[in-house]
């Protein structure tokens, strides 16, 4: 009960905190949206200072009083410093490669600053994931975000905070990016092999070039490993790839309608599985979804993305 009430209260407080709506990047933190509160240790420290000050006043001991006040002054300065660590910070970009539902989405955050202040010990938190944010541009903060459902993932608020310099106070600001991130459907794990039966267009066109190697070209990122011509590569010191006149395999048609016996979501997962399978086997494939023009036939990262995106964005049918 108490927990639930606290959560409601928390949500209400959250609604108050800036920003109140999602926003587009880049976002610069101004002083209005940076919050500073003492930590527990900060309260303890304040208590210590009060005790010291009372003792010093009682004994009329001026150096002791000065010591207490100096510590108090340093503590105040640390509060302000903590605030200024965040204010003026700019979150420049945020990106993530789409992943299949169930796998963590790796959220990459890049930050800069509007001024030349030194900023140390900034951390980013989303849910339970914490990462360090550094501003030298050399590395990005990477936050794993758990995913459950295919489709657009709306990000929660991201908390950027610091305990620096003394751990007496924590300063934080919320980042609420409006950028939605795509989550692919989770593929079936133990799915059947690609359908052998060809599409209703009849027999597939055979590859005229057959197995013949047409020529060798330099390796490009994304080329399948088995296409690498290892022996010629070893002679030349660069990776070479065999390029065929046409991919050697037959095209395959992945048709939504043909999977009629399967339920809605399992069908999507089977198709996702087949898309990956086709990519792995280096075959051209075509995806046909109801009410949409057929995608492909084609092959490669862009095509895979287009197909998986289409699958991910199929409407959710609750209960199915």
């Amino acid at each position: 009960m108490a927990g639930a009430r606290r959560q409601t209260l928390w949500r209400r407080l959250q609604a108050w905190a800036r920003p109140r709506t999602p926003e587009a990047l880049p976002v610069a933190f101004d002083r209005k949206r940076v919050y500073v509160l003492p930590t527990r240790f900060g309260m303890f420290f304040a208590l210590l200072i009060v005790a010291m000050g009372l003792g010093a006043l009682n004994y009329n001991n001026n150096p002791a009083l000065l010591l207490a006040l100096l510590l108090a002054g340093a503590a105040m300065a640390s509060l302000i410093t903590a605030h200024l660590q965040l204010s003026g910070l700019v979150i420049e970009a945020l990106s993530a490669e789409p992943v299949a539902a169930g796998e963590p989405l790796l959220l990459k955050l890049r930050a800069g600053a509007r001024d030349g202040r030194r900023r140390l010990g900034l951390s980013v938190r989303h849910g339970d994931a914490v990462a360090r944010l550094s501003l030298d541009g050399s590395d990005e903060a990477v936050l794993p975000v758990p995913t459950e459902r295919r489709g657009w993932l709306d990000l929660d608020r991201i908390r950027i905070s610091t305990l620096r310099p003394l751990g007496l106070a924590t300063a934080w600001a919320w980042l609420w990016p409006e950028q939605a991130l795509l989550v692919y459907p989770a593929p079936e794990t133990q799915g059947p092999p690609l359908p052998t039966e060809l599409g209703d267009s009849g027999a597939a066109r055979l590859n005229p070039a057959g197995d013949d190697v047409h020529h060798l070209r330099n390796y490009r990122r994304g080329d399948p490993q088995r296409a690498v011509a290892w022996k010629p590569s070893a002679r030349r010191d660069t990776l070479l790839v065999r390029e065929y006149e046409q991919p050697r395999s037959a095209e395959v048609v992945l048709d939504w309608q043909r999977l009629a016996p399967l339920a809605y979501e399992p069908r999507i997962r089977r198709l996702a599985h087949w898309i990956d399978q086709a990519e792995r086997e280096n075959r051209r494939y075509q995806l046909r979804l109801p009410g949409q023009p057929a995608l492909g036939p084609a092959q490669g990262a862009a095509h895979r993305h287009a197909c998986l995106r289409a699958l991910a964005l199929l409407p959710h049918i609750d209960g199915a």
Partner: protein
């Protein structure tokens, strides 16, 4: 949250640094025991914490040990020793971040407790070092807690950032220090041992002053406004001793109740402010003789000056003195009897000699005084090396040793006078002083403690007679100049040191409710209620906070004036949406601006070219750089 090894090391280091100044103030035995305990426990519990029952036992044993070693006197000393001991055994349970933080937090009481015992420069320095280490440890813990230790920060930079925090907090601390409402009297407890060092005592017995006379720390500092007396006339009058029991001179208690005696004054007047180091006694000293008692003091019958409370902290007094034309010209019978009383059956040879002199001189008291001084001048010597006397101390001094210091001379002289029927008393205090040319004030050190005599002569009243000066005037009026001349001349260093010390005394140690009021009065605030003070304090605190924020926000500004001027120029164009993008080269930007604002494009292009040349191409001379900076500052879009 668990503590890593480096974090533990930091916690222990901070604790040690905070404990050190306190240990130096504790009695040696206790300090060594606590230090050994701290080291032992830190080593034993390095790998894993000690079990609970053992910690409990340890705490009990330590409390018992400290209480035994301090002989069961519960008070501030014991409290400080207990604090130190508790800190020393705290590492036995420091495994988590929380423990480490509380250890560092409590360790800050180390310097605090030190200040209750001592406020000297060494304690101050060590306390600052301790605080620095404590804050460094806290900074380190903050990094540990965020789970991602900050790398690439050198210890020196870390220290600097901690000092920066302290420096930025300083204005707020000072505002609070000078404006925070002070309590006039303690809320609880009275210090059982303050910072005082025994100064002049209110008694004098053989050998009792030797410690005092080898202590060269200041007893008081004096600043005259107006005329200054000659150093040889600076007799700082303290306790007046009337009673003699054959061995020890003491002050009569009834004298404090009497009103100050009648004493018409001579023309000379000295106004001065004294800053008296704590002594824990109520007796003050003043130049011969104070005209009136300053606020918070009373004058006794023999012009002793007594404060209402023991001088347990540094105090300041404004006094006016003027030498008497006649000091108590009519002596009443009771006082006369006290000033003639001698213990029965002591010093027979002295009594015989005095009787002899009296019959020689008839009724001429002054002749007897002169005869005694002549004798002392001719036959006696000054030395600090004297054996402890037997029963007839005065006889032994006058007829056998014939060498001694102020204690012997004054004591024997007064006994001789009393035996001859002349009322006499011993006066103790300080003589002379050393003038610090830096700051223009006088320093009287404990070492300048002195005892002399006053004899009562018909028609003149009490007259000061210094028998020691008859033998060794240089020993009495000698100043630091004479002593320093023998060695390497360290006077400037010493003078500056004492001047700084005086400033610290002035600004910090001697600041209390009275001075606070006086300080505010000088700003035109007449009479302050506590409420006004709090309001003023709050206002100043807010101002100081604002200033702190501004300081932190702006302290990272560009240091190179050329770059600064260049950036300012860029931000002036930002108002028209023409700011330079971070990736944009200077000349590209200037061309872009020139296209959009052709009216001052030429000037900007020229300026930019000069800037680029000065920064990237040729090393031009200072003058050219200054001209360029000026031109950059003058340019307006």
């Amino acid at each position: 949250m668990a503590l890593d090894v480096a974090g533990r090391r930091w916690a222990l280091l901070a604790m040690a640094a905070c404990l050190l100044p306190l240990l130096l103030q504790l009695p040696l035995q206790i300090a060594l025991a606590i230090a050994a305990l701290g080291v032992a426990i830190s080593t034993l519990s390095w790998r894993r914490p000690l079990p609970g029952w053992l910690r409990f036992l340890l705490a009990g044993a330590v409390i018992l040990l400290v209480l035994t070693m301090s002989r069961y006197s519960i008070g501030r000393d014991t409290g400080c020793a207990l604090l130190a001991a508790m800190l020393a055994i705290k590492p036995s349970e420091t495994t988590r971040l929380r423990d480490a933080r509380s250890l560092v937090g409590f360790a800050l009481f180390g310097p605090f407790a030190t200040f209750l015992l001592d406020q000297g420069p060494l304690s101050l320095t060590l306390a600052l070092i301790g605080v620095t280490f404590a804050l460094l440890a806290l900074q380190r813990f903050a990094d540990t807690e965020s789970g991602l230790p900050v790398t690439g920060v050198s210890p020196w930079r870390a220290t600097l950032s901690v000092w920066r925090l302290i420096a930025i907090g300083l204005p707020l601390a000072l505002a609070a220090f000078w404006l925070f409402p002070r309590v006039g009297s303690p809320l609880w407890g009275v210090p059982e041992r303050s910072l005082a060092r025994p100064g002049l005592s209110d008694e004098m017995s053989p050998g009792g002053w030797l410690d005092l006379m080898s202590d060269d720390s200041p007893a008081l500092r004096v600043r005259f406004s107006g005329a200054e007396p000659q150093p040889s006339q600076m007799y700082w009058r303290g306790p007046v001793l009337w009673n003699f029991d054959g061995r020890t001179w003491t002050q009569p208690s009834w004298m404090r109740g009497l009103p100050p005696a009648e004493a018409p004054r001579a023309a000379a007047v000295w106004d001065y402010e004294m800053e008296i180091e704590p002594t824990d006694r109520r007796q003050l000293v003043a130049l011969d003789l104070p005209t009136a008692a300053p606020d918070g003091t009373r004058l006794s019958g023999d012009y002793g000056l007594y404060a209402e409370r023991p001088l347990s902290a540094l105090t300041r007094w404004r006094v006016r003195s003027s030498p008497p034309a006649a000091f108590e010209p009519r002596l009443n019978v009771l006082l006369r009897q006290s000033a003639l009383r001698l213990p029965e059956g002591y010093n027979p040879r002295t009594l015989a000699l005095a009787r002899q002199w009296r019959s020689d001189a008839g009724s001429d008291d002054a002749a007897i005084v002169q005869r005694a001084l002549r004798w002392i001048r001719a036959d006696f010597a000054y030395t600090l090396e004297t054996p402890l006397p037997g029963r007839n101390a005065v006889d032994e001094f006058l007829f056998e040793q014939k060498a001694g210091y102020c204690e012997h001379f004054s004591s024997s002289f007064v006994v001789l006078m009393r035996a001859a029927g002349i009322p006499a008393r011993v006066v103790t205090g300080y003589v002379g002083g050393y003038r610090n040319p830096i700051g223009n004030y006088w320093i009287v050190r404990r070492q300048d403690a002195h005892a002399w005599a006053e004899v009562w002569l018909q028609g003149r009243g009490w007259v000061r007679v210094d028998p020691t000066a008859a033998v060794a005037p240089e020993r009495i009026y000698d100043t630091l100049d004479d002593r320093a001349a023998a060695l390497v001349d360290l006077r400037p260093v010493w003078n500056t040191g004492d001047w700084l010390r005086r400033g610290w005394n002035d600004l910090v140690l001697g600041f209390d409710a009275t001075r606070q009021e006086r300080m505010l009065r000088s700003f035109g605030v007449a009479r302050l209620k506590a409420g006004d003070l709090v309001a003023m304090f709050a206002l100043l605190a807010v101002l100081a906070l604002g200033w702190m924020a501004w300081l932190i926000a702006h302290s990272e500004r560009e240091r190179d004036p050329l770059l600064r001027a260049w950036r300012r120029l860029g931000s002036r164009y930002a108002r028209y949406g023409l700011q330079r993008e971070p990736h944009e080269p200077a000349c590209d930007w200037a061309e872009r601006v020139a296209r959009q604002r052709p009216q001052n494009g030429e000037a900007l292009l020229a300026l930019t070219r000069r800037f680029a040349e000065s920064r990237y191409a040729v090393a031009d001379d200072r003058q050219q750089r200054r001209d360029l900076v000026r031109a950059l500052k003058a340019h307006r879009p």
